[in-house]
């Protein structure tokens, strides 16, 4: 992991829904001037191996980078057709892809997260600056 990157974890049991992960990521980005570059399924190394979501952030300059921090949109999908449609709707709204962090790709920009006991697949884009 690069020096300017930080990984934080959110426990799956604390996440009631995907919106909770979205607002938590937005909060972290805005407070810390860091952008999301990776989201992974995770498990805590503990006796009960709690399910979690590991999010890696990278430092950015909020004033000159052009990254609209705190404006992430996460939308769940069930199959590839639905994912395609969601992505194309984001593109139509001039939102930008977020993943993979080193080269965001509008054809993917998807991740998975443990939300409570379920694995949720979702598309992640960053809303256009107002």
């Amino acid at each position: 992991m690069a020096n300017n990157q930080t990984t934080v974890v959110y426990l799956a049991r604390d996440l009631n829904d995907l919106a909770a992960l979205q607002s938590s990521c937005n909060f972290y980005e805005a407070r810390n001037n860091r952008k999301v570059v990776n989201i992974e399924l995770a498990a805590m190394e503990s006796d009960d191996g709690d399910k979690a979501v590991a999010v890696t952030y990278e430092d950015v300059d909020p004033f000159t980078s052009g990254v609209n921090l705190g404006q992430l949109s996460l939308e769940a999908y069930k199959n590839s057709a639905e994912a395609n449609l969601i992505r194309s709707e984001f593109l139509l709204e001039q939102a930008t892809p977020v993943l993979p962090g080193d080269a965001p790709d509008p054809d993917t920009s998807v991740a998975k997260a443990f939300i409570k006991d379920e694995t949720v697949k979702f598309v992640i884009f960053r809303d256009k600056a107002a």
């Binding site: 990984t7 934080v8 407070r31 399924l41 979690a52 590991a54 404006q71 994912a83 449609l85 054809d107």
Partner: protein, 367 residues
Amino acid sequence: MKTFCFILMLSIAVFTTGCPRTTPVKPAVVAKVAEYELNQLDTNLAAYDCAIFGKTVEITESTRGKGQQNRTITCANDQPDFDKAKRIRDATIHRLIRTIDHVYFQFENELYIKRTSGSFLSDVTDIGANFAATITNGERAKTIINAAIIGFRGGRKSGSIHFFQEKTAEALISSMQSARNRVLADMIERLRKEDVEKYSLDEALGDTIKYFYAGTLPRALQELQQNASKIAADTKEQVRVVKGLTPEKVVTAAQAKPAVDALEALKKLFNDATKGTPDSVKTDARAKAEKILEQINDDKTLVDEINKDEKLKGILAKLNDKAQTDSAEKLIRGINELKTTASHEALLKGPSLEKIDKLIVDAVQKK
């Protein structure tokens, strides 16, 4: 009995698939809105050419699909007018998009109905034939019906594979829509940002053709195939084992809002202070940044907490030193540094950070 079964099957099929309306009654105005006649397009193209060339010109029409045919346009203006050309280009393309949308949505509706009612009819036929085979006396008749069922299922399967590659109507429609959205997103972006020298009407017309074909079945199937494998590769079920990290607090949208608003407010101040804005806006931005600092200094509890940490104390001291914050940019960056440093290293408690967020938002929103 066989006649009864046949009539029953037919009735079910007709009453469940034939009668219901699939769209609301179309208002006449919808047809009018979608109407864009060839002669209107020709008029727009001629006006565009006048705006681009600005004088009497002879144009070979072959590029616009009419075969080799020369045409002379006499223009009222004698100077090129690219702003006017852009307006004509945008209007022409938006009218074409409207027309294509109208045709597409009719096609989408028909596709959905045909695909779902076709499947339903096939199911009814399949079940009915099975039922007939069960109740029919005589081995020969049973054999014939069973052979017919096998043939019917084979034909149905083959049709589904060859024409639709076994995709549901929903998958096909959403794929067409996503392909269309992609082309449209590119077009709108270019129409918005680029002038006619970079994105000519002819190029835009080419894109409207792409837009039309994006809403077709072959494109839908291609879209599905292209992305399914990519997504599968990108969302492998790998679980990372995490050690030595304390779980981060999960927040609601309402709890996240003040922090997000504060960052937006600081960005606005920064842009006002540094971008090509009038001097009065720059002065106002500087005054608002000073107000934020003044209010932080006025809050004794907050200052006490900041001063407990040497790093934060140093940042606040630098902010209060006018020699080091001689520009609005430095002042705004300093306030942001105070906030992010406190958050990165958990040097301030949540309520204190929220207080700073609120001070920023209030100061920026104040007229």
